[in-house]
Subunit: 272 residues, 3 copies
Amino acid sequence: MSSIPFLTEIREWPDERISIVTGRLQHKTPLIHCITNSVVTNFTANVLLAIGASPAMVVTPEEAADFARIADALLINVGTVTTFTAGVMRSAAHAAQQASTPWVLDPVAAGALAFRTGVVGELLACKPSIIRGNASEIMALAGRGEGGRGVDSLASSDHAVASAVSLARSSGAVVALSGEVDYVTDGEELFAVRGGSEIMTRVTGTGCALGAVMAAFLSVAETPLLAASAASLLFAEAGRGAAEHSSGCGSFAVSFLDALDAITSRVPPVDG
Amino acid sequence: MSSIPFLTEIREWPDERISIVTGRLQHKTPLIHCITNSVVTNFTANVLLAIGASPAMVVTPEEAADFARIADALLINVGTVTTFTAGVMRSAAHAAQQASTPWVLDPVAAGALAFRTGVVGELLACKPSIIRGNASEIMALAGRGEGGRGVDSLASSDHAVASAVSLARSSGAVVALSGEVDYVTDGEELFAVRGGSEIMTRVTGTGCALGAVMAAFLSVAETPLLAASAASLLFAEAGRGAAEHSSGCGSFAVSFLDALDAITSRVPPVDG
Amino acid sequence: MSSIPFLTEIREWPDERISIVTGRLQHKTPLIHCITNSVVTNFTANVLLAIGASPAMVVTPEEAADFARIADALLINVGTVTTFTAGVMRSAAHAAQQASTPWVLDPVAAGALAFRTGVVGELLACKPSIIRGNASEIMALAGRGEGGRGVDSLASSDHAVASAVSLARSSGAVVALSGEVDYVTDGEELFAVRGGSEIMTRVTGTGCALGAVMAAFLSVAETPLLAASAASLLFAEAGRGAAEHSSGCGSFAVSFLDALDAITSRVPPVDG
């Protein structure tokens, strides 16, 4: 493998490019097709609504392919994949690829369980724009490591940077590696986003909802790299703010939605 | 089509009839059978509990028909309908019709996607007591307009009033048209409920939960028209109160449940 | 039937044994396999995260048995069981029994609906470590009473104590009977846990999440009796605290998660 790109830290919110992405999203209210896991459907929908996107969970084979064609972006998260939903996911991913609908793949627990690892392999062939995962998942997809333990990563994101770069180059997707530090790379450039809050690891769905926001940003950003970076930075900023206004896991989740709402509402809608 | 009925504004909470409905509900704690979408199950159950009803999500073909017969009312919401749940919905709707269990149909995204539009057509044949939808959905069921975009309406409720009246007359159901103004009609009378909060459009499940509350009120109100009007007015009042005590989408959802709890707890239980 | 054991009241939090259970849990962060109902997946996951456990909802036949073998404990809750998930539950329960993974059965509405009563009967044959239910459910499994009305119990927990003791003796499981007073028994000892808050009956998922916490405690407690008692006492304490910091059903659920987080964070991690 060739070398790891020079690391650029993204430190400030908002920088101008990210403001434009957020402003465009509020002007467009893009329709985001989510096929996600049963634990996080509600939180994911509320996160998308808080930032000004329009979530739609369309999850049956009779509709999913057609809807993936007309949606502005698609999220597929395999967290609670079943025999039935695996077929829905394949069908939506194929339709998205054919229709050039940009899409995000969240390969929850890939590498740890054989069935979903197989499903994720098939989905990768449909060329997602962004792959978002934790260190164990990204290392497993890059052919390193042995997967995590359930949905949790056993490795820190720092140890998976080389895998992320390698996976980006082999898949053609931007890889967004979530952890204490978030890394985002297209194989050529590499960004690090610090911040957020430790408590985000103890609120279910923060990572899954980040994938949904990346999908929303795909519909308005110039590049998948910018979409993924902007989403990570928005979450870090909202997480930092929410931690100041909460007194535990429960109030954090509530404050996090309020923070997303407040941050994005401050940005004026931008046409184009 | 004949003319649109004279419009009556419902302005105050509580008027005496609505207090009686709410008081009866707290005395009876009716059992509400919900076959609803996977995004809003939790919020819907919490809304029903907050007003004093007892939610039950029974969603398998072996049980749904039997349960629809013994429940006090039934809600069917097609938001995330699948091949499997479409069968459950048909079976429950037929059983409700046979057993005279009053029921609410929420035709999410009908008109926008062919499969669910077909399912909704079959469900309509089972004579729901109330049809609750947004402007795009109601216009589609009335044979006008071309449906919305995903779950969102592209039309305002003001433009769909004629469709609501027409659908009420053709279906025999009360039609509850949700939007910036809620309209409720049985084809003869037409009520408008103003109030609520803009933020309700950015919290997932508020519309779906409104359908569940209409089902709960069906079990204690003299007419479906009163049940639908009372539920809309309760939501408008709770939304107004919650907006005052919240600082964004996240805290609004929490305050909304608190407001429903507070409003209905102030009304003493009424027997009969 | 032989006599009911002498009743021991558990009054204080924390007693030393329970502190040790909670401290061990925080050291181990056990992986809890949850096959639970669709209404409470999010709340259950957040409760487990708040106390320091790691939830994983793995719900497809291709994975559930394998995962039940490697998880530290398993929860099966039949609240929204379907034709499909019944098979997943059977398969996971068999695998847990074979692998000696401790597991909790939550027989929601058993006795009230024939299909799930049959499923629960099959699951009981796989020897759960703990059965957690309300009075109607426990009485139905003990062969008394006629089941509840939907998910709600029609009987108080006081009237079901004899059934709980009988079921514990016949099944070999610890029986945790939830109600205004929680009773926990292995057929030889009988504990009563008072406290909590009336409002817990009006927040969906508190009982279901209690079953999940019992599963988490099974992975670190010496006995199922201690696991079930510790979980009940933790919930009573968190419920008491949350009621003081909330102003209705909505804020109670948030404060309850904060309270679980605060209580368990005060206990230092314990190895062994």
